[in-house]
C-alpha cells in the first residue's frame, strides 16, 4: 500500500515580520545608510527590508560596543554577566518555535532541523557559556584571565542563529562586547535575537548587530576599534582576513571550509553507516562546513554500501521547508545554486558518474536534488573543491593506511568520519586523521562543551568547550588592561 504523507505545514503565523529592520546598535534599532531585501529561498518572495550598514554605521556600532565594554561589561562581576546569558538562553527556549520558523523561511532549511537542532543547540550554547562567566579562573588560563575588549564577528548563512550563538555566547561570557555581522541572505534571526537581548535587559551596546553584505564585513574586520575578529565562512575570505590581521595584529580565529572524508570500513554497522553518510552530506542541504562530502568506502563492501545508500536516498523528502516532513530544503541562494551546478557539471565533464534519486523540484525557489557521484578520483574537482551542496563524491580504498592517506590528501582539515565496529581501529584512525573533529560511528554531532574547529586551511582556533574560551581571553597578557 502506498503511504503518502499529507502536507503538514508548520504555521507561519507565529512570526511577525516587520516590513523593515534597522541596525541594532547601543540597545536600539536605528536606521542606517541604505536598505536591501531578504527573500525566502524556497519561494523567492521578499520577506523584509533590512538595513545595510555602511562604514559610518559600523563605526557607531564599534563605539557603542567600546563604551559598553568600558563602562559596564568589563567591570561587571562574572556572576552577573552569567545571569544575563542564562536569561538569554531561557528566552531562546521560550521563543523557540518563533525562532525556528523564522530561521526556516529566511534560510530555506527544513523546519524539523531548525526546530530540533539549530534552536535547541543555540539555547544550549548560551546555557553552557553562562556557567563559565564566573568560573574563568578554573578554565586553565590562569586565576583571573581578562577579556580582550570589543570583538568583531562575521558569520555565514548556513546556520544563522546557531553561528550567532557560537560567537556571542563565549564572547560575552568572557567579558567582551560584540559587534556581529550576520550573512547577507540570512539576517532575520539575528535581528530577532536583538529583540531577545532587549527582553533580557542586556545593557545597551554589549551586543550590536550590523546587517549588510561583504563590504560591511570588511569594514568591521578592518576597524581599528576591534580587538579581536572571529570569522566563519569561506576559506577564500578567511585568507583575506588573515592577511589583514597579519598587518594589524588583531587576534583572529577562523572557521572555514572543508572536504571531509567519511570512511566506511568493511565491518561498519551498515544501516547506521548509511544514515551517517546521508546525514553527513544531505543534512542542511549539504551547506555544512564539516559535511562528509567524500565517502571513502572500503572496496570490499562498495556494492552493498552503495546499494543501501541509493535505497535510503529514495526516502529523502525534498520540498517546502515549512513542512514538518521535509528532509531536504532549499538551497540558500541563486548564487549558491549556480556554484553547485557548476561543480556538478565539472564532475560529469571529468568523467564521474552522476546519480540522483528521482525527486520533483518545486517551480519557484532554489533547489538541488541529493546527488551521488561514483567513480570519483582524488584528481576530480568534485573530490577536491568544497561544493557546499547536497552532492556526495564516492571514492574507494583498500586498507586503513590508504584510507588515512586519501582522507588527509586535501588542504582542508575540519572533520572526518570513521565507521567500523573495531574500537582500536577507530582510535588508530582518529589519531592519524588530520582533522579537528573526528566522528566515529556517528556524524554531525555538536555540543557546546565539545571544541570544534579545523586543521590546515579549514581555519584555526576552536569554538565550544573549555578550549573555545581561549579565543576570547587575554591569555598572552598582551591586551590592554
Amino acid at each position: 500500500m502506498r503511504f503518502e504523507y499529507s502536507p503538514a505545514p508548520e504555521s507561519r503565523a507565529i512570526v511577525t515580520l516587520r516590513d523593515s529592520y534597522g541596525l541594532f546598535i547601543g540597545g536600539s534599532f536605528v536606521p542606517g545608510s541604505s536598505v536591501f531585501k531578504t527573500i525566502s529561498p524556497a519561494s523567492e518572495e521578499v520577506l523584509a527590508e533590512v538595513t545595510h550598514a555602511g562604514p559610518e554605521d559600523v563605526d557607531r556600532a564599534v563605539a557603542a560596543a567600546r563604551q559598553a565594554y568600558e563602562r559596564t561589561w568589563s567591570a561587571m562581576p562574572g556572576r552577573e554577566r552569567g545571569k544575563y546569558l542564562f536569561r538569554i538562553a531561557r528566552l531562546i527556549q521560550e521563543r523557540s518555535r518563533e525562532l525556528a520558523v523564522l530561521e526556516t523561511i529566511d534560510n530555506g532549511k527544513p523546519i524539523r532541523e531548525s526546530r530540533d537542532v539549530d534552536v535547541p543547540l543555540a539555547a544550549a550554547h548560551f546555557f553552557y557559556h553562562a556557567g563559565w562567566a564566573d568560573k574563568l579562573g578554573y578554565a586553565g588560563f590562569g586565576p583571573s584571565p581578562r577579556p580582550l575588549g570589543v570583538v568583531g564577528q562575521v558569520i555565514p548563512w548556513n546556520f544563522p542563529l546557531l553561528m550567532l550563538a557560537w560567537k556571542v555566547a563565549p564572547a560575552l561570557a568572557c567579558g567582551n562586547t560584540v559587534v556581529l555581522k550576520p550573512a547577507e541572505t540570512t539576517p532575520l534571526t539575528a535581528l530577532l535575537f536583538a529583540e531577545i537581548c532587549q527582553q533580557a535587559d542586556l545593557p545597551p551596546g554589549v551586543v550590536n548587530i550590523v546587517t549588510g553584505d561583504g563590504a560591511t564585513g570588511q569594514a568591521l574586520v578592518a576597524h581599528p576599534g576591534i580587538d579581536k575578529i572571529a570569522f566563519t565562512g569561506s576559506t577564500e575570505v578567511g585568507k583575506e582576513i588573515a592577511r589583514a590581521c597579519a598587518v594589524s595584529g588583531k587576534r583572529l580565529t577562523l572557521e572555514l571550509g572543508g572536504k571531509a572524508a567519511n570512511v566506511v570500513f568493511d565491518d561498519a554497522p551498515v544501516d547506521q553507516a548509511v544514515e551517517g553518510i546521508v546525514n553527513g552530506i544531505f543534512f542542511n542541504q549539504g551547506h555544512v562546513c564539516c559535511a562528509g562530502s567524500r565517502l571513502l568506502v572500503q572496496e570490499s563492501v562498495y556494492d552493498d554500501v552503495l546499494a543501501a545508500l541509493r535505497r535510503r536516498m529514495g526516502t529523502l523528502r525534498l520540498g517546502d521547508p515549512l513542512d514538518k516532513n521535509t528532509d531536504v530544503g532549499a538551497i540558500n541562494s541563486r548564487a549558491q545554486l549556480d556554484k553547485i551546478s557548476e561543480l556538478v557539471s565539472s564532475g560529469e565533464a571529468e568523467g564521474a558518474s552522476r546519480w540522483s534519486a528521482p525527486c520533483p523540484l518545486p517551480d519557484r525557489g532554489f533547489w538541488f536534488a541529493p546527488t551521488v557521484f561514483t567513480e570519483v578520483s582524488q584528481a576530480h574537482r568534485i573530490a577536491r573543491e568544497e561544493i557546499f551542496g547536497p552532492v556526495l563524491s564516492v571514492l574507494t580504498f583498500r586498507t586503513p593506511a590508504e584510507a588515512v592517506e586519501k582522507a588527509n590528501n586535501t588542504p582542508y582539515g575540519l572533520s572526518a568520519g570513521v565507521w567500523t565496529e573495531k574500537g582500536s581501529l577507530i582510535l588508530w584512525m582518529a589519531s592519524r586523521l588530520r582533522a579537528g573533529v573526528v566522528w566515529a560511528n556517528t556524524f554531525n554531532r555538536f555540543d557546546p562543551s565539545s571544541p570544534f574547529g579545523g586543521y590546515k586551511e579549514s581555519g584555526f582556533g576552536r569554538e565550544g568547550g573549555r578550549h573555545g574560551l581561549e579565543a576570547y581571553l587575554d591569555v598572552t597578557g598582551s591586551a590592554d588592561v
Binding site: 556572576r79 552569567g82 545571569k83 542564562f86 544550549a124 546555557f127 553552557y128 553562562a130 556557567g131 563559565w132 562567566a133 564566573d134 568560573k135 578554573y138 578554565a139 586553565g140 586498507t399 586503513p400 593506511a401 574500537g423 582500536s424 581501529l425 582510535l427 588508530w428 589519531s431 557546546p448 562543551s449 568547550g465 573549555r466
Partner: protein
Amino acid sequence: MSEAAEVSVAAQAGRIAVRKTYKLYIGGAFPRSESGRSFEVTGAGGGFLANAALASRKDARDAVVAARKAFPGWSGATAYNRGQVLYRVAEVLEGRRAQFADEVRLAVGGSHKSAFAEVDAAVDRWVWYAGWSDKLAQVRGGANPVAGPYFNFSLPEPTGVVAVLAPQDSPLLGLVSVLAPAIVSGNTVVVVASEKYPLPAVTLAEVLATSDVPGGVVNLLTGRVAEIAPWLASHMDVNAIDLAGALDAPGALADDLAVAAAENLKRVVRLPVSDWTAEPGLDRMIATLETKTVWHPLGV
C-alpha cells in the same frame, strides 16, 4: 457568645493565618515521621514558630532507599539536563525571595536587609553550582599520555548516595552550599537539616519538589543530628558523608561519625567553612566524585 460579639472578636484579631505544616521530604513526597514525633522550633525572639517532624532512624533508612532508587536516573541524565534542573530550582527560589527572607529572619534574627542578602547569596550560589554540571568533566578529567599505543582518559563520576549534615548556623546559604555540590555531578542525597533552624530547609524542599528535580534525588530529614546521623554514618548503602553539621557538635560526634563511616570506607567530607559567602572552590564537588580511567588500544 452572641454573633455580634463573635464578629467583634474576629475583627479585633485581624485575618487568621493558615499556618504551614513542616514535614519530611522523602522520595518526592512530604510524609510525617513514621515515629509520629515532632519537635518545637522557636524563633530568634524565643517564640514558637512551628512543630517540625522529628525524624527517626526508619525515616533515615527510607530516605536512603529513595536516594539509591533515584541514583541511576539522576546520574544517567546528561550533564546539560542536570544543569537545566538546577537552574530551574534557582528560578523558583528567586521567585520566592520574600518568603525565604522571612523564614531566615524569623529563624536567625537580624534585619530584613541581611535576610534578603542571605537569600540572594543562596540563589547566586545555586546558579554557580548549576553552571558546573557540564564543566566538571573538562576541569577534572582528560586524556592521559600513557607510554604505549593506548588511548587513556580519566573521567569524574558521582560516588552515589551522599549523606549531608547541613551546617547548624546557616540555614539557607550554608544548606545550599553543601547540597548543590553533591547533586550537581549526579549524586543523590539525604540531608539532615540544621537542628536549630530546620524550617528554611523544608521550604527549600518545596522548591525542589516543584522544579523538575526527580523524586528521591534530594531527601530531607529534620530532627536531632545526634540521633539520626549515626544511622546514616554507619549505613552500608551510603557512599559518602558530609559532616558539616556535626563539626561543632558537643563531644566527639564528628569523630564518632567518621569512625562509623569507615566500616564501608565512605568518603568523609570534613571541610569547615567560616564564611559561607566566600566562593566555595571545587573541594566539595570533588569530595563526592570518583575518577574512572579507561584504556583502549590504538591499532588496525
